[in-house]
Amino acid sequence: MRVGVFICHCGNNIAGTVDVQKVAEEMRKIPGVAYSTTYVYTCSEPGQNEIIEAIKKYKLDRVVVAACSPRMHELTFRKAVEKASLNRYFLEMANIREHISWVGDDKELNTQKAIDVVRMAVAKVMNNKPLFSSSFKLTKRVLVIGGGVAGMQAALDCADGGLDVVLVEKSPSIGGMMARLDKTFPTIDCSICILGPKMVDVAQNERIKLYAYSEIEDVKGYIGNYEVTIRKKATYVDWNKCTGCGLCMEKCPSKNAYDYFNFGIAPTRAINIPFPQAIPKKAKIDPNYCRYFLKGKCGVCAKICPTKAIDYDMKDELVKEDVGAIIVATGYSLMGVENFPEYGGGKYKDVITGIQYERILNASGPTGGHIKRPSDGKEPETVVFISCCGSRDKSVGIPYCSNFCCMYIAKQAILTKDHLPKSQSYVFYMDIRAPGKGYDEFTRRAQEEYGVRYIRGRVSKIYPRGEKLIVRGADTLLGIQVEVEADLVVLANAVISNPDAAKLAEKLRISYDTFGFYVESHPKLRPVETNTSGVFLAGACQGPKDIPASVSQGSAAASKVLALFSKDVLESDPQVSYVNPNVCVGCMKCVKTCPFGAIKEEELRDGRKVAKVIETVCAGCGICTSTCPCGAIQLQHFTDNQILAEVYAFASGK
């Protein structure tokens, strides 16, 4: 074995507080180390060339670079050793900058620490094995989960790029949250007017296969080769026959069904089309309210339907789709009004949430766009908006900002004034967050042009007085208690993850944070990737974000998929686990603990049952290796012996 050790000065970053010459000398004494040197900037081109030359000149078969963090330059040096025809896994890095020179002042101790750490890396590299990736084919189809604006954008971009897309939407229509909005900030253009055409594009695109009112049942496989099972939920209406004429909805005698689309601001019929622009524009029965399902008789819709599309016996249907990549764009949910009892949420009808108010403002909403308060249908004169309801409130477990409330409050206040010129809006806020393009100007317009009164402070209590609601709070700027007599109170309720977000994440084997938002691979550099290769994120499922951000992410995820599919075969990461069938005792504990389902049972020719790793699914965490009692399954590049070699090298430094 001929190990080469290269100690980087990193200018003065390392050499300033570590005696790099001494480290190099100590390494030279180690048996098996054939060459040891220092260089000013090892990562520079001449620095890399130095390594390449040394490998050739001294016939090195292993390389240790002691420099900065491997998280920074491991790939750089792997490529360098590869240029010298060494397998890239014959490289190890010792981190003597971030972990030593930058955090310790004592040069002598730093040097000793560096000697130990580099020696440990030398010990490890001596146990390294060459690893080779294998290639596999991929299915060039993509699954997009969620038909909101992010998902639609992703689907359209993928389709434009020539990919077949499977789009799965949980609710009866695509459109998501944006379809419910009245206007969008800061341009005040009509939300459905800009979204509607996109929805139609999706419907009409031949490359997009839409499953509305469907959910993901199961995901099997791995990047390039997923098999997805989709549950098409029963609508009790044969959508092949339904023309969306709406006759059934008109005649339906169950008039008190909960209107999910309108967030329950007013009831709808048990058979309904959620909104006029719905795609697909098809009816569906809500069996929780339908008389036929509740009482066993009615059948009005079935009788009236001109195409005989009603089918009360319809069952959920499972379909399978093969795809090579998955874009998750499942969006977000909102805290319900009942979560704010201190504001009388759920108790006073005229305390509503921002999204409910959005529906009241909307021309296609239950009030036809006329602002009427829910309790008595009167036009409000005083409207109070309260920001940060739930958001940034550790006491309810939501420390984060919901991102867009400040903006929509300003928008809704402006619209209120437009609708009811005599009205006056108040906004209780903590601080105004308007960092987007044209955003700050927009909130100023609300105050300056529309006379919206912004009060910096929290509301402590809301209670009724006659027909009015008294909003009592503090004005922290003036340092006084204020009371506003309001006709309508709008709560900017917190954005939360979907209730089933965790379940879906587990099916997809992606990570999610404490709040149920999906975790990207890297917050800055890999914002739409997940740690499961082949699964990408777009929109608010990753965290609260507004429309432009969601749309950009939709496009970004699509471009990632297109880039991925530009190859005909994929290469697997060889840093995966491997089972030595001669050693495996077949206890299958690894199978049970693998978070990725990457290990299966296999029967050998002699009838013995052993574990086997599906290389392409294995993500390389090594849980199996620390689970396996007999050491039969080893995570390549982090084998027991590689780690133990470091432990023993650590110990021999005494």
Binding site: M1, R2, K59, D61
Partner: protein, 279 residues
């Protein structure tokens, strides 16, 4: 009597040349660091040595260069375990430990004047090579020399230089075979025991010497018996896990015989007198 020699102490040797025989087999040529020792070192064809990679351990290999050529000692090593992997990591100039010679050897004296049939598979040609070269260096002492050698693919054939030489000699019959058809391969195709049956060599005045993977040996022994070879005329060399190399540590025995000390060379007649074990 002076102090007894410590049989466990290796002598230091230096690797002078490494030959990559196949992707998994390397041959090492080593010389003793003590030039006197190199000069006086004596061994017989078929004897083995224990190579030490210090810190990793020892493993047994046959000295496959013949006693008639003593510029160096050659060992061929297939990469299978810890020690052999470490040996594969060696470079020219590296130091090793060696305990040799150990074990018995081919009874070449009693083979004089007889025809010799060598049957080898894969790295199993190694112990045969030492005897083949030895016999070629004493060619007149022996009758016809036939060598049947097989491997999985042409890439897996060892000692390609030797094979070229033997193939071109008039006084050696060389038959090469590989397990399956292979692009560009114009010699025999088939498993060694089958090719042997096809060749149907005459057992008269012939000694058959075979070495290869256990399964090949098993069927070759059957084939030879079928061809009428007497048990005394069938000679094989065995492999076992060995540690001490001097018949003490107790793991390489077959019945009362220790492969490291009483072997590794056995005639089929001897093997048949031992308890049945998997070879």
């Amino acid at each position: 009597m002076g102090p007894k020699k410590n049989p466990y102490l290796p002598e230091i040797v230096t690797v002078v040349r490494i030959i990559e025989e196949t992707p998994t087999i390397k041959s090492l040529q080593v010389v003793f660091d003590d030039p006197e020792r190199m000069k006086n070192f004596k061994f017989e064809p078929g004897q083995v040595g224990q190579l030490s990679v210090f810190g990793v351990g020892e493993a047994t290999f046959v000295i496959n260069s013949p006693p008639t050529r003593k510029e160096y000692l050659q060992f061929s090593v297939m990469k299978v375990g810890e020690v052999t992997s470490a040996i594969h990591e060696l470079h020219e100039g590296d130091k090793l430990g060696l305990r040799a010679p150990l074990g018995n050897w081919f009874p070449y004296e009693s083979m004089k004047g007889r025809n010799i049939l060598f049957i080898g598979g894969g790295i199993g040609l190694a112990p045969l090579r030492t005897l083949i070269l030895f016999m070629l260096d004493n060619r007149k002492d022996y009758g016809r020399i036939t060598i049947l050698y097989g491997a999985r693919t042409p890439i897996d054939l060892c000692y390609k230089e030797d094979l070229k030489d033997w193939g071109s000699r008039d006084d050696v019959d060389l038959v090469l075979t590989v397990d399956n058809e292979y692009p560009g391969w114009d010699k025999k195709v088939g498993l060694v025991p089958n090719v042997l049956l096809e060749m149907a060599p005459k057992p008269d005045n012939t000694v058959a010497i075979t070495c290869g993977p256990p399964i090949m040996i098993k069927y070759t022994l059957i084939a030879l018996s079928k061809l009428g070879f007497k048990d005394e005329d069938i000679i094989t060399t065995l492999e076992r896990r060995m540690k001490c190399g001097i018949g003490l540590c107790g793991r390489c025995n077959i019945g009362s015989k220790y492969v490291c000390k009483d072997g590794p060379v056995f005639s089929l007649a001897q093997l048949k007198s031992l308890p049945q074990e998997e070879y």
